[in-house]
């Protein structure tokens, strides 16, 4: 006992003198062993039990007099036993709070009395009697022990003892000594066993410890940690959270722990222990797995070494938290002991049984406290990483001893328990997945709604959401067991059996998530992927036939990637067997639906291989069977490329691999099944400039237009979408017109039920209508009327395009009236209250275009449209701001009593002036233009001036942006009309930069600058500055312009300068 206590037990170092036993599991079990030893002692060794200790064991107890019963003399709070030693001391004496015990029989009685507090009693006893051997047997024994250490065997010790004790010659003494010695050894060996197991952490241990630590994160004075969290919410069936390829290395999970006093710790828990890693914040960061610290045996130890605050407070915490579990443990031990009474030695089986009992308790929620257990969890053992749980029982080594039966019973109890648990996890895990599977598109499925924005592809990501596996009791479907059986045959079968089994497996509904996940969970996915690396063509075909189906499932895709399966699939693309190539490409099409997969395809040269598949002759009328297969291979290749093309870098890779001409050739195919993936890929890639050029120059517009008249909605949609993206280019727009695509596009508007098609068609119309020739054509087809009808009750994707088109149409005056007649103005104004920024940009633009018509303006004014547009200046998007400001210009210009209207908008002018602080040139230009309009009203100009418009405008004059210069000069020219603004502009240094504007190449800049200079030149000081900057020469040049306004302004400015010079010389004359 002595040796194990001093050497093996874990003492807290903090407290002085007496020292306390730490609340570690090992101490816990040591205590239990000792307790058991003490309890059994008097019944097993009655003679030795009566032996009186040399010195009493003394400790402060929680027992009080009332706890003691008949065998004791009780007087008030003091208790004495009837039995006395030779010198008359009672063998047990209680004088609170201390108790003195002088024999094992008393000790065991006391322990029985203490009932559920006995463990504490033993603990207190050991803590206060650090050398019980000495006290029990006397210092002589202790010295022998010290001399011999633990190296001597029992016999030689006995001899020594007998030599020493010849005088007293007490045989009992020696026996007692031997018993204690025996016990000590037993304890030590157990400690050793536990310590050796300790190093092997397992998921349950880690989980429990994390749970414990999480309790320490609670607010309040007990708080020792800020936060503890896993990097992944996703727990595998074996309890690990690390991705499978890391689990192989023994890693269990990754944690991010924020201590109160130091920086955040990123921790890896592995079976070998815990250590700091290189910052794994989220799952999937390849880089951070490396170890950056020593390995600690558990989290608490690591935290103690890293966070002083933690180590200071943790011991108090342990007490608080562990109180409950430890008492339960005692009860539990007692119940086991009751069965095992009278057993001379604790057999291994008994311990094992205990362990299982504990393991079972571990699952009950109230056990979640700090209790640690280092026995490998049966669940972990049983399930392994991927192996089917059913086999587990058989694998466990059976114990060969008398108690095997009871052990067996325990195991059986446990086996099904673990099974159902796994079942439950499995079936529930399918729930979130099932939801997500609804998002999955079939290869020929719909394209996402947001596929139309320019940067569609990247935003349309299938997010890699962690898979949640909540616990529940739902049972597994029968398919699960059937699939498990089939996978077993797959593993253990030759080629023939494998092919048969694969064929049988295809009979399951592989599109159903239960089956998909069942295949994965029984380890079938691994086998399927392994088959791909064999030389057996038939096995590969069979495997791919299954993979292509189950890869519709998000989780399966992820697992395939995690297992490196995609690489194997890509290897098959080189195969000479066409069926194989087609199947492989089709599987890739499914798998490559998330970013990591697409990257993998690219990095392993998959894009090149896929592009190579496209090489076939698709447009022959009669194909041989072989050519037919080539076409099928090309189709699957196109499907795969379509999936891959959602990543920008892949688009580039496809282009570099020479994919564009091949796609162009396939585009001439007469088959829809081929055209859909081809056009799908093209429209996806058309977000890249290089593709748009290529699509145009390779003559694909013609085919795209042709396929607009297909009767397949999806194909029409992709074609329209491709045109939508390409028609930014004028030549493309002309080509669409040339191939009579405009009419086809308008006719697509009748399919108003298919919103995606409608969005694509309206988008194409919008972009095509940028060319006025196209607008004229559209008018022929009454497109405008149809579009105006689409302004209501449509999804935003459609509205954006419709409104965009209206904005373009409204560039032609006749159309403004048409829009009004169709009731479009009201709809447009209504849309101003929306939140979609792309939509707002288009709406304001359309409203602005409509506002150039006086009749329209009346309606806009009535509907309070100006106020709505004005309020959009507060929008966070610069595009919306500038677009709104541009729209305000015609509104203010054409509104009746515009000045009053502007004044009525509270805070409006201040808002405008503040926007001059924007950093976006387009916003600045639009605001300047608006200011020029507002400043036409003197009162408003006065307000603007009060808000400090002059210095803000002056500050902007250094710009080199011609568009801004033009409107800035315009604004300055108009703002000169108030008070001393001319002089203020001069003072603010706006004049000199303006002179430089005359060197600009933009005629519009010249015009507005000349006007501004003319206004500024009415101030003599400005004239001097202008003259000094050499304004006269360019002005004289401008006077030769065709524009009368410009001539007049330039001439006026020169006149002013000249007048000043004259006055000056006159003044000098008079002096």
């Amino acid at each position: 006992m002595g040796v194990s206590l001093t050497r093996a037990a874990q003492w807290t170092t903090a407290s002085s003198g007496t020292g306390k036993l730490e609340f570690t599991p090992m101490n816990e079990s040591l205590l239990k062993e000792i307790l058991h030893f003490v309890e059994q002692f008097s019944s097993q060794h009655p003679q030795e039990a009566e032996h009186v200790f040399v010195e009493p064991l003394q400790w402060s107890t929680t027992l009080v007099a009332s706890d003691f019963k008949t065998d004791y003399d009780i007087s008030e709070s003091v208790v004495q036993s009837h039995e006395k030693d030779s010198e008359g001391h009672p063998l047990l004496q209680l004088s609170p709070p201390n108790v003195y015990v002088r024999s094992f029989s008393q000790l065991s009685k006391l322990v029985h009395l203490a009932d559920d507090k006995k463990l504490e009693e033993v603990r207190a006893c050991l803590e206060e009697n650090t050398d019980p051997m000495v006290k029990i047997l006397g210092p002589s024994f202790a010295s022998i022990l010290e001399e011999e250490g633990t190296h001597t065997d029992g016999l030689s010790l006995v001899r020594k003892v007998q030599e020493e004790d010849q005088g007293k010659g007490s045989e009992v003494n020696v026996k007692l000594f031997l018993l204690l010695q025996n016990m000590d050894n037993q304890l030590l060996s157990q400690c050793l066993k536990e310590t050796s197991e300790q190093v092997k952490l397992n998921p349950v241990t880690v989980k429990n410890e994390v749970e414990l630590l999480k309790q320490f994160c609670s607010e309040g004075e007990n708080r020792v940690l800020k936060s503890v969290r896993y990097t992944s919410d996703d727990e595998f069936s074996n309890g690990c959270r690390a991705p499978p390829w890391r689990q192989v290395l023994g890693e269990i999970c990754y944690l991010v722990i924020e201590p109160l006093d130091t920086e955040t710790l990123y921790i890896t828990c592995s079976t070998a222990g815990v250590f700091l890693n290189g910052c794994i914040k989220q799952e999937g960061e390849e880089s951070g797995y490396g170890r950056t610290s020593d390995i600690y045996k558990d989290l608490v130890t690591l935290l103690k070494s890293r966070s002083p605050h933690f180590s200071e407070n943790i011991n108090n915490q342990h007490f608080a938290v562990q109180e409950l579990p430890s008492t339960q443990e005692i009860q539990h031990v007692e119940s086991v002991d009751a069965e095992e009474q009278g057993q001379p030695q604790r057999s291994y089986e008994q311990q094992e049984k205990n362990v299982h009992e504990k393991a079972r308790q571990q699952h009950s929620p109230n056990k979640a406290g700090g209790e640690k257990k280092y026995e490998p969890c049966p669940r972990w053992k049983n399930l392994g990483l991927m192996s089917p749980c059913g086999k587990a029982e058989g694998k466990k080594p059976s114990k060969s001893s008398g108690k095997e039966k009871s052990g067996e019973v325990q195991k059986k109890k446990l086996g099904p328990g673990a099974k159902t648990k796994m079942k439950a996890e499995f079936s529930v895990s399918s729930l979130p997945g099932r939801l997500s599977s609804q998002k999955i598109k079939t290869p020929a499925g719909a394209v996402p709604v947001d596929g139309f924005s320019e940067s569609s592809s990247e935003s349309e990501e299938e997010e890699e959401q962690p898979e949640r596996r909540p616990e529940s009791n739902t049972d597994l479907p029968p398919e699960y067991w059937q699939i498990q059986k089939l996978v077993k045959y797959l593993k253990g079968g030759n080629q023939t059996a494998t092919v048969l089994t694969l064929c049988a497996m295809t009979d399951f509904n592989l599109m159903q998530e239960t089956c998909q996940l069942a295949i994965r969970d029984v380890g079938g996915l691994e086998v399927l992927i392994n088959l791909l690396d064999t030389d057996e063509v038939k096995c590969k075909i069979g495997s791919l036939k299954i993979l292509r189906k189950i890869s519709h499932n998000v989780q399966i895709r992820r697992t395939i990637i995690d297992m490196g399966g995609l690489q194997s699939i890509m290897k098959i693309l080189d195969s000479p067997v066409k069926d194989l190539k087609a199947l492989a490409a089709e599987t890739i099409a499914n798998v490559a639906r998330f970013r990591r997969a697409r990257r993998t395809v690219r990095q392993y040269g998959g894009i090149k291989k896929l592009v190579k598949l496209l090489d076939c002759v698709p447009n022959l009328v009669n194909l041989t069977a072989n050519q037919e297969k080539d076409v099928e291979v090309a189709r699957c290749g196109a499907l795969a490329l379509w999936s891959c093309s959602k990543s920008t870098k892949n688009k580039e890779a496809i282009r570099k691999a020479g994919g564009i001409p091949l796609l162009g050739r396939l585009l001439k195919s007469p088959r829809e099944s081929m055209l859909i993936p081809v056009v799908g890929t093209l429209q996806e890639c058309a977000s890249e400039e290089s593709y748009r050029i290529a699509i145009q120059s390779e003559g694909m517009i013609k085919d795209l237009v042709k396929n607009l008249s297909s009767d397949n909605d999806e194909l029409q949609m992709h074609c329209a979408s491709a045109i939508f993206k390409c028609a930014e280019d004028k030549q493309t727009r002309d080509l669409v017109r040339k191939y009579k695509g405009l009419q086809l596009l308008v006719s697509l508007l009748s399919k108003a039920d298919n919103k995606q098609l409608l969005a694509a068609a309206t988008g194409a119309i919008w972009k095509c209508s940028i060319s006025m020739e196209n607008v004229a054509k559209f008018q022929e087809y009454k497109a405008l009327e149809t579009l105006a009808g689409l302004l209501m009750d449509q999804p935003e994707e459609v509205l954006v395009n419709v409104v965009g088109a209206l904005g373009e149409f409204a560039q032609i005056p006749a159309n403004k009236a048409t829009i009004r007649k169709c009731g479009g103005i009201k709809s447009l104004v209504n849309l101003l209250t929306g939140t979609n920024q792309a939509l707002l940009v288009n709406v304001t633009k359309a409203v602005g275009a409509c506002a150039t018509d006086m009749d329209n303006m009346v309606i806009i004014d009535q509907l309070d449209g100006v106020r709505l547009v004005w309020s959009l200046l507060k929008n966070s998007s610069a595009d919306v701001q500038s677009s709104a400001a541009w729209a305000l210009c015609p509104c203010i210009k054409n509104a009746k009593d515009a000045g009053e209207m502007v004044r009525s908008l509270v805070g409006g002018l201040e808002l405008i002036v503040n926007l001059l602080k924007s950093t976006n040139n387009e916003v600045l230009a639009s605001i300047c233009a608006t200011i020029a309009q507002i400043a036409k009203d003197k009162e408003n100009l006065a307000v603007l001036t009060d808000h400090g418009v002059v210095p803000l405008l002056a500050k902007l004059t250094n710009t080199t942006d011609d568009r801004l210069r033009r409107h800035l000069a315009d604004a300055i020219g108009h703002c000169c009309m108030w008070g001393s603004n001319r002089a203020s502009f001069g003072d603010a240094g706006a004049v000199a930069p303006l002179v430089r504007y005359l060197k600009s190449k933009d005629k519009a800049v010249h015009q507005s600058t000349a006007m501004a200079l003319y206004q500024l030149s009415k101030d003599p000081n400005n004239c001097i500055t202008m003259h000094g900057k050499g304004v006269v020469k360019p002005l004289i040049h401008i006077m030769g312009s065709d524009d009368e306004m410009l001539q007049e302004a330039a001439a006026g400015c020169v006149r002013n300068i000249r007048l000043l010079a004259l006055a000056n010389s006159k003044a000098q004359l008079f002096i």
Partner: protein, 215 residues
């Protein structure tokens, strides 16, 4: 010797002429080469009277093994049986060429018939449960832990029957087999590889049709 081969050549050409009209997939020259190959495989007849005989089981099996990588005795016997249409335990030259026509270049229909014959061990026009068990019994690794080591195979047979036995009479008729194979081509060689793979076909044809041409 040259005299003899000159005579042989004429003979062979005449023979090839007739056979090529009866057998599909091979042209006259190819038939000629196949005849030559047959003669080579047969070896020089030691006893003149046996010259007209054919390949016996052992010879044929060694061809299947060496040229086409087949290993399963039962399947090889089945192939021999299928080639040997007149059941005289010898494969005559005609049988050889007819057999090879399916073996190397058969259409799907021909292959289905061929495979069914190979698997129909007792030639009763049905593949019975027992026959399946017989053919599949070595297809699974036996796990010593299992009580009945044949249990897996039995189960596999049941699975296969479930998939292929469309009329549910517990055995596969030709119609069952054909239907199943048409639905899933992989089932053509359901009970063991009895057709050569593309590489060995290429190698064999290369060897027979081209190398001999060079000689």
């Amino acid at each position: 010797m040259s005299e003899m081969s000159a005579m042989n050549r004429k003979l062979i050409q005449a023979l090839a002429e007739t056979i090529s009209k009866q057998v599909e997939h091979f042209n006259k020259t190819e038939v000629e080469f196949l005849i030559r190959e047959f003669n080579v495989l047969l070896g020089e007849p030691t006893v003149p009277s046996r010259a007209a005989s054919g390949l016996d089981r052992g010879r044929f099996r060694s061809i299947l093994h060496n040229s086409f990588g087949m290993t399963d005795d039962m399947i090889m016997d089945g192939v021999f049986r299928t080639f040997d249409k007149d059941n005289d335990s010898l494969i005559s030259m005609k049988e050889w060429i007819e057999g090879m026509s399916v073996f190397l270049r058969g259409t799907m229909d021909e292959k289905i018939k061929y495979c069914f014959h190979v698997y129909d061990l007792n030639a009763d026009n049905y593949i019975s449960r027992e026959e399946m068990f017989h053919m599949l019994k070595n297809s699974l690794i036996r796990q010593p832990t299992e009580e009945d080591p044949d249990e897996g195979v039995k189960d596999l047979v049941e699975i296969t029957l479930k998939k292929m036995d469309h009329d549910h009479d517990g055995r596969l008729s030709f119609a069952d087999f054909e239907k199943a194979v048409r639905e899933e081509n992989l089932l053509l060689e359901a009970f063991g590889t009895c057709l050569p793979d593309t590489t060995s076909i290429e190698a064999f044809e290369q060897h027979v049709f081209q190398e001999q041409l060079e000689q």
